[in-house]
């Protein structure tokens, strides 16, 4: 028989003013199973908590009901008090007779009557509570960082410097990401290579970091603290140990006309290439789609010239398996391409380029060694028009968000152009300038006032070619929507920042939710920006939404600290309010019929299949099993389960059923109605 203690709080006047606390305590005393029922001015005070502790010890209570404020307020307080008195904390519940009763109703019998009801409901619930023990889940202290851009690099370094093992996987032949393609970075105009390359080297050299480039995730299973990942190391056709990175093969390779991804298609590269001079690892890879040997089986020139015979034409992809405790997704973003802007002639006119291509023109290691030259005839353009919001903030193009970084890099581009082509005039068509970061606004003012960049407030409606010139038709809204026509030599579109292609498949592989634009979805926009709804998987950088380098680095360190917190203990403890599938004696073994309709309902993929076999291995039945590491305790599966085989600890079927019955049963226990 349960021995429950009921403790009614006056909360000073907050409850006492409108609820007759003595009457509530007296009514509670008569409920079968209640052996102790008192009321006190301040239950949450130390004397109040001591009353509870003494009552637990003296009357060895099996359950505690505190009629006071909202459980969202003091449930932890009272549960800790019970625990200190030796009672399992989950046998203590609160009846909300303040926010839901005394504060919102007038003084009088109905209010006291309601308080009695609420206490009776919680008493019936506590009578059916079970002592629960927090769930312990082991944690593998190795992190997986997906993506080798600045965000991935920062996260990997932070975690490795905290003493944990890190495995970094980068899809392209070298780490560095988009930042390595940039010329100089706003707002300080320091050269991106100078600040990035040391970090890349630090990653390559760090004892705790294992680097897999030209590799992708094949599959990932498991849950927080216990992921199993398969990494596909694509064949580079190079023996990385033998190769010294001398670069002879790239120089001699006869196939030279392949558009270089690193130079955003402006420059070219050979079939066996190192993406850029400061690449890490600084070793080539053979592009099997364009290499003559793989196409026609001839040439093999690189093999002949290689001093250390490091060429391996028959090299196969290799699958590497690893145990992982946490994952940081830092797969970055992409600049919008394709013919989605016919009215600007993007893709039709050679001299209409995007922001990344301009970066390559401005970059010293770029195809024009840093000189701003037109892709069509290599001449220096006298007039360049930059168009901001090319695709962003444009619902008709399906991208209604602002890509956040274009205002700043467009101002930078105009400034670099003015520095490199004296006398050249730069126009920027803009809607609003978004320069909210530290020293950002000052940077843009400098571009306008010192570098004479002409900002035209208005949208460009059309760019067309006439007599060798690019006619940019727009409007200037500050001059009363006056149509404006500029004859330009080159047009640079600050196209929208979009999710990487393959982001959707990766998200599905990682069971991470993503938004309509394929950016990964954070757990909470304000309070959990670096976490996802999948426990143990964190986000950093532009894969979550377009952002600049400072924010990406800050997010990376944020994600790294989350991983650090996770790895700080050997075991992960979690609230035991999780679902459990019932088990019973043979021949039934469980009322679960294995229909797995609950599996589809679970937002956390926490329901697995469990095979019940006889001792000699014969399969009896396959039933559902809840993974305690993943289940967050929403209970949707419990309501979907027809045979009531799965139940939620803390909110079990018996409890909620009893609560409904108790709430509506106002018959006085001994009034003999």
């Amino acid at each position: 028989m349960s021995r429950i203690g009921v403790f009614i709080c006056h909360c000073g006047e907050n409850i006492g003013a409108t609820v007759d606390c003595e009457k509530v305590a007296a009514a509670a005393a008569k409920i079968p199973g209640v052996v102790h029922s008192v009321d006190y001015k301040y239950m949450c005070s130390d004397p109040g908590q001591n009353m509870i502790k003494e009552a637990i010890r003296e009357k060895n209570l099996t359950g505690v009901v505190v009629g006071a404020c909202s459980p969202r307020m003091h449930e932890p307080t009272f549960r800790r008090a019970c625990e200190e008195a030796g009672l399992n904390p989950f046998l203590c519940e609160m009846a909300n007779i303040r926010e839901h009763c005394s504060w919102v109703h007038e003084k009088g019998d109905p209010t006291t009557e309601k308080a009695i009801d609420l206490v009776r409901v919680i008493v019936e619930k506590v009578r059916r509570n079970k002592p629960l023990v927090p769930i312990k889940v082991p944690v593998t202290k190795t992190a997986l960082v997906l993506g080798g851009g600045i965000a991935g690099i920062q996260a990997a370094l932070d975690i490795a410097n905290a003493g944990h093992k890190v495995i970094m996987v980068e899809r392209s032949p070298s780490i560095g990401g988009h930042m390595s393609q940039l010329s100089e970075t706003f707002p300080t105009l320091d050269c991106s290579q100078c600040i990035l390359t040391p970090r890349m080297v630090e990653v390559a050299r760090h004892a705790n970091i294992t680097l897999h480039t030209y590799s992708e995730i094949e599959s990932i299973e498991g849950f927080i603290g216990n992921f199993k990942v398969k990494i596909r190391k694509k064949a580079r056709s190079i023996d990385m140990k033998a190769c010294t990175g001398c670069g002879l093969c790239s120089q001699k390779c006869p196939t030279r006309k392949i558009p270089s991804e690193f130079d955003a298609g402006l420059g070219t590269r050979p079939a066996i290439y190192v993406p850029f001079p400061q690449a890490v690892p600084n070793k080539p890879v053979i592009d099997r789609l364009n290499c003559t040997y793989y196409l026609k089986g001839k040439c093999r020139l690189c093999e002949k010239v290689c001093p250390t015979q490091a060429i391996r034409f028959d090299q196969e992809d290799e699958i590497v398996e690893a145990d992982i405790g946490a994952v940081v997704l830092a797969t970055g973003f992409e600049i919008k391409h394709g013919d989605f802007f016919p009215e600007y002639g993007f893709g039709k006119f050679k001299d209409v380029i995007d922001g990344m291509q301009f970066e390559r023109l401005a970059s010293a290691s770029g195809p024009t060694l840093g000189e701003i030259r037109r892709p069509s005839d290599g001449k220096k353009p006298e007039t360049v028009v930059f168009i901001a919001c090319a695709g962003s903030r444009d619902p008709a193009k399906g991208i209604e968000y602002c890509s956040k970084i274009c205002c700043m890099y467009t101002a930078k581009h105009a400034m670099l152009y003015r520095h490199k082509v004296h006398g050249g005039n730069a126009y920027i068509f803009y809607m609003d300038i978004r320069a909210g970061g530290k020293m950002y606004e000052e940077f843009v003012r400098r571009a306008i006032e010192e570098d004479g960049v002409k900002y035209v407030r208005g949208r460009v409606s059309r760019v067309y070619e006439r007599e060798g010139k690019l006619i940019v038709q727009g409007a200037d809204t500050l001059l009363g929507a006056q149509p404006v026509e500029i004859e330009a030599d080159m047009v640079v579109l600050a196209t929208a920042a979009v999710a990487n292609d393959g982001a959707e498949e990766l998200a599905q592989k990682m069971h991470v939710s993503y938004d309509a634009h394929k950016f990964f979805a954070e757990a909470h926009p304000k309070l959990k920006p670096v976490e996802t709804n999948t426990a143990g998987i964190f986000l950093a950088g532009a894969c979550q939404a377009p952002k600049d380098i400072p924010e990406s680095v800050a997010q990376a360190s944020g994600a790294a600290s989350k991983v650090g917190a996770l790895f700080s203990q050997d075991e992960l403890t979690r609230e035991p309010v999780i679902a459990v599938v019932n088990r019973s004696a043979p021949p039934l073994y469980s009322t679960c019929v294995g229909c797995f309709l609950c599996q589809a309902a679970c937002p956390y993929q926490a329901i697995e299949r469990e095979e019940i076999r006889t001792r000699d291995g014969k399969l009896i039945k396959t039933v559902a099993k809840v993974n305690p590491g993943l289940c967050q305790g929403c209970g949707t599966c419990v309501a979907v389960c027809r045979t009531k085989a799965i139940d939620l600890q803390g909110f079990s079927n018996e409890q909620v059923f009893a609560e409904v019955m108790a709430l509506l049963d106002r018959s006085e226990p001994d009034a003999g109605i």
């Binding site: 009322t591 229909c595 309709l597 589809a600 027809r642 009531k644």
Partner: protein, 267 residues
């Protein structure tokens, strides 16, 4: 019919199946389920208008499963039930042979569930006009009239659970009715117990019932149970465009969702 008998005999002789679940003659002009295990008894198999019971009910029963791999003579609803049971992991593709006798005496043997899906996509399942008339009659009633109609119907229920035992989708070894902690459904067959039983049965079949009608036929006191199932089938079809028994993997109405499911009653 002999096309079916020849096939049954062949299957049994070749040992491809251990039992053929089919229809045989019953009392008077009734047909009944028979379990042919010896090739010689294949001639007892019949297939005509009287054969309406959904034999897929036997695919999940322990006693029948112990007989070994079955072949099942499947009417249209039975085919849908096979897919729905497969979708709920109760039967596996290789675990049975599905024979569907056509009206013209032809016989189709389905090798894979995908073939059944294709066959069902084209097949129409007409609704008995009398039953449709009853549905329209009840829908046209006012709420109070509908309440009196249903209270009248369910007060006659004697809780013999023939509707549950006759339904192929009610294969749970311990039904929630037999759960007494908490006692979800009152055991006695008073009006309240009958109301809660019939509501729960309909909801537990929502999105799973293939409308074979066996529950209504099994009810000794003739309660029009098909009405409840068809209301839910109609609502699921119009609201969520899902229909039970059309695909081998199930998108079960109550465990899937769509962000913009439309409703007009939530404030």
């Amino acid at each position: 019919m002999d096309e079916l008998r020849k096939k049954a005999r062949a299957l049994l002789e070749a040992g491809e199946v251990r039992v053929v679940i089919g229809y045989g003659g019953g009392t008077g002009d009734r047909a009944r389920a028979i379990f042919v295990r010896e090739p010689e008894r294949a001639d007892e198999l019949i297939f005509d208008g009287r054969c309406r019971q959904n034999l897929a009910i036997y695919l999940t029963r322990r006693e029948v499963k112990e007989l070994g791999k079955p072949a099942i003579v499947a009417t249209l609803p039975a085919l849908k039930t096979v897919l729905q049971l497969a979708g709920e992991f109760q039967i596996a593709e290789g675990g049975l042979v599905v024979l569907a006798p056509g009206a013209d005496g032809s016989l189709i043997e389905f090798k894979t569930f995908a073939d059944i899906e294709k066959y069902l996509a084209g097949a129409a399942s007409p609704i008995d006009p009398a039953e449709q008339a009853e549905m329209d009659r009840v829908r046209a009633m006012s709420p109070d009239e509908r309440w009196k109609y249903w209270l009248g119907q369910i007060s006659r229920c004697i809780k013999c659970y023939a509707c549950r035992q006759a339904c192929p989708m009610c294969y749970c070894p311990r039904c929630t009715v037999e759960c007494n902690q908490p006692q979800w459904i009152p055991v006695p067959s008073h009006e309240l117990g009958n109301l809660e039983w019939n509501v729960m049965r309909a909801m537990h079949l929502a999105g799973r019932c293939v409308d074979c009608g066996d529950c209504s036929r099994a009810c000794p006191v003739g309660i029009p149970l098909y009405l409840l199932n068809r209301v839910l089938i109609g609502d699921i079809e119009s609201n969520f465009h899902q229909r039970a028994g059309m695909k081998a993997e199930v998108d079960y109405a109550l465990s899937t969702f769509h962000p913009d499911d439309r409703e007009n009653f939530i404030r």
